[in-house]
Assembly symmetry: D2
Amino acid sequence: MVDFNITRCAHAEFRVTDLGAARAFYVDALGMLEIDSDGDRLYLGGLEERDKYSLVLRKAASAGVGHIAFRVATEDDLEEIARVYEAKGLPIRWIEANTLEAGQGRAVRVQDPNGLPIEFYHEMEQRERRMQKFEEYRGAHIMRIDHFNMQVPNVQAAYDWWTQEMGFYLSEYTVSDDEPERLWAAWLHRKQNVHDLALMNGIGPRLHHVGMWLQDTSSVLRACDILASIGMRESIERGPGRHGLSNAFFLYLRDPDNNRVELYTNDYIIPDPDFAPIKWKLSDPRRATFWGNYAPRSWFDEASLVEDILTGELLPTSDPQMAGRPDFIT
Amino acid sequence: MVDFNITRCAHAEFRVTDLGAARAFYVDALGMLEIDSDGDRLYLGGLEERDKYSLVLRKAASAGVGHIAFRVATEDDLEEIARVYEAKGLPIRWIEANTLEAGQGRAVRVQDPNGLPIEFYHEMEQRERRMQKFEEYRGAHIMRIDHFNMQVPNVQAAYDWWTQEMGFYLSEYTVSDDEPERLWAAWLHRKQNVHDLALMNGIGPRLHHVGMWLQDTSSVLRACDILASIGMRESIERGPGRHGLSNAFFLYLRDPDNNRVELYTNDYIIPDPDFAPIKWKLSDPRRATFWGNYAPRSWFDEASLVEDILTGELLPTSDPQMAGRPDFIT
Amino acid sequence: MVDFNITRCAHAEFRVTDLGAARAFYVDALGMLEIDSDGDRLYLGGLEERDKYSLVLRKAASAGVGHIAFRVATEDDLEEIARVYEAKGLPIRWIEANTLEAGQGRAVRVQDPNGLPIEFYHEMEQRERRMQKFEEYRGAHIMRIDHFNMQVPNVQAAYDWWTQEMGFYLSEYTVSDDEPERLWAAWLHRKQNVHDLALMNGIGPRLHHVGMWLQDTSSVLRACDILASIGMRESIERGPGRHGLSNAFFLYLRDPDNNRVELYTNDYIIPDPDFAPIKWKLSDPRRATFWGNYAPRSWFDEASLVEDILTGELLPTSDPQMAGRPDFIT
Amino acid sequence: MVDFNITRCAHAEFRVTDLGAARAFYVDALGMLEIDSDGDRLYLGGLEERDKYSLVLRKAASAGVGHIAFRVATEDDLEEIARVYEAKGLPIRWIEANTLEAGQGRAVRVQDPNGLPIEFYHEMEQRERRMQKFEEYRGAHIMRIDHFNMQVPNVQAAYDWWTQEMGFYLSEYTVSDDEPERLWAAWLHRKQNVHDLALMNGIGPRLHHVGMWLQDTSSVLRACDILASIGMRESIERGPGRHGLSNAFFLYLRDPDNNRVELYTNDYIIPDPDFAPIKWKLSDPRRATFWGNYAPRSWFDEASLVEDILTGELLPTSDPQMAGRPDFIT
């Protein structure tokens, strides 16, 4: 039992090489709300959210991810979490309120045992929710951030950390086809839906994608139509389709820097703390795409490097313990 | 058999007292494309259309309808149609190309035997279709004009005129509950769907509404949400709901001058010239709204006056031969 | 702080006078899954659920509600909850496993201070989830039970009980227009969406409706179409429309015994325990129906009587402390 | 100008090796209505249709197509059409009423100059339309047959025949990328939408697919979900996606005999006889799938053989004059 309460997936910070190009993709095409900006950063949000932002685009020399952030229930939770990382000798960095990210209270950043750059915060400037400002709905009608999906070389170790030390619950998972079964991927949640954090076998530490939640399947199709209409069809990497795992209707997109976002809807709620997790075999043809299509190789091979929270340098990666993609992906 | 070919419902000219208020409704809220304007007129169109416009908003001292227009297949058809009206001694007015309406070729306006102000034209300036400019979709995603609905005191006479003299076909109709059955309303078409022109028993000659075609039911719901969101909820008069007659999913709106438009989708095509018309009894609870709701009194009682094509004055009206609304509308 | 954990709204037991007629409504028309039956009861469920059932139809001499049930996180929570009711001298009844309801573990029933008949349980037989058995989707594609809405004479007292003694959180609420503001209605949740339990001013104790969650607006429209098609259009009482409060797209139906169900979708999640509740004025025209329509009188005046948990008799009701419906409902 | 009036695409006859397997696909999975059957044939229809059937499944030793049928406006049109084929010395076969296909009046079958087996008829037994029997909607909610798509070795010759001799109109077309442009494919219509008949470059004469019209995109997605759910995911060959050409939202399926059907919606109407056709370059990445995906090789290479109308033997094929698939399909 952990002594703190992580409430949910909260925001991601993407490194982008061209803020204007990134803005054209996220704001003009996908319809995210542009909430604020300073010289180096654009702060974007969804229609349902009250937190000031859920996606930060930061000007940088190369693509990648600065950090991903979870909200915690109280300020005290920050101290409790810091103690856990300190006890393991892991890197920690306190960020004073409003120094790096506009509107955010005091935060702590850590490098988890897998190398993932994580921020925890409690206080955040609130803004007016736009859910009922229907005249402002544009693009994919993105409602809110939903989850992070990370690639790590050792999924079992990462799973152990996030469930045992950080208090996450398992909703669904994938195991290898051979015996004994090995964990290929795990979907973990704190808020009551399928995930706040997914861990997948692969070259890592890397961020595979950030998931954005939409209200319906037609919003996913509208995103495809708009992207193709404005000449961004090459940003469409995979889908639209339905996942077997999570039941979500999805679309995977690459932003102009090749950072990946998933448009995601039609999953389900998990209000029961004793929800029996759903197991999938890696080779089940309905697992990844319920309709049977395979993901392209790029979807397995490519992902965003992540920063060292202390130096801001992009971290080197390690090869996964299992093959980097299923052997049926040629 | 008629000697000319009316191809379809083409455009309507609404009198509006405040062009800015009308623009806020049709363009900002409903998402119609603003194609052109001159001092007195705004020219609006739908996403699927190539004709320069399908709705003209004309500044006037009071609400009402200047004319409704049908396209014909050839220039010669205009002469043939004019001969029919001349032979009956009905008012005719030739409009030279580009004199009253931007981009329109030579046209002929008539006052039909019921007093309805009708324009026929063949040539029209074409514009780029926006159907695949998905980034321009706004509001109700209005695709195209679909039909006119007119109130007339003598539906049988109007029906006879439009089917026998103008070559329209009957798709569906409503008859009185008493015997012998009398015609209460008729849905007539030239293009291959339920109607280009509906004729309803009522105080007339008046235009009851112009129907705009949408691609799906969610576009109707989006219109409701946006109108409520921006403070125009009082423009919603009836619906959303499904018509029994036509099967269409509908919403009736009143513009700032109380001219009425219907958002309309989910009807069907009629490619067979020998389609057997569908008869409905006036009191059938599924006829008007399939789900059983009644229309409000205003929907029966209120409609737009129409102009004398020669003087531009609004025409006086006569009471209908049957009661102005069904007796179950209290 | 309470010493137990109510996890969610779980099931309702409706009294019905004709099991066959009720089955035609819930199973044949709305598409709920028929899971089990015994002589007196039908057990129905939704596509997303794993609990054996979420709606029990019990044959009875008159309409009404046997009880509403919440799930708790552990068996021990039952004892803790029982202690609270005992301490207040409120009626309590222990139900041994599988004695009244098939598949349910030991449960405790109470009569809350407002007279509401509540059941708490932890164990329930699990069944295969049908969420990905798409060939079994029928009718409204009901995914799961979402909430109970209860009418009580003293909303403030009921609100105090459920928030202070039972641990519920406030998401949205309605206050009177006069000063000082009085609480007209409150939406309370344990699972992370708008509500598990709503409390409304009115004649009570009564159940106003049970809310069933759908995945999209088109499922609501499909329900209307099917009900009208099979001759049950009179079961449609209000809607479809969008609520301002909760943002949900809704439809209110009356079953053959006049028990009321709401088809409900498009609300939002509340993962933050410190979510700032949203306040609505009773007369705000966008509160109840965002598009401005008023609910019919029956919606305010009529509701289902509830049983005495000890005797099974239907409880007498009291008039509300405020007028039973807003004064703009004539 | 032709002396007869072909009104629309009407029905196709598929050869199937296992009527039970075909029924499971078309009726149980896709939800087509089973209207009638005799020993060798199943007669299926759509919800919007009144003709007795629009798809005939005929037991045969191998897959393929018996014929495709167009309706004509009058009985006399049959004689006129027969004269055209006779004058060219093409095969003709008169089918007396109710001898081969249940409910059909006298018909004439021809082999067109490209070898395509075509039937023309006027009279057909009518059945009750099920469009407002919403409780009968199943699977993909197939409303009606929309079009035939045929592969022929010489598209230009086939285009000339169908436009000059049979009176079809061109809506959209594809030309080769090299100069001078050569016709790669043509979409031709008689009813007022994008096509009743498409002609594509390829090994032929073959039927590439029959298009079935749905009312909305969600019906296409539902079909994918159901097919995957019941173990028929391998029937999904291409899509869902949006066509650039026609704007339709589509899904291509292979039935258990590998005959191909397209689920198709969101195209547009063409009420103007002088509609200016839309030209696409073969290599335009938005032409086939607006979102940029390529069709699989099987989509270009595989199609259904067609029968000799006199002998019932499957006709041999010829290679196309241009390469069988675009060179960007590897």
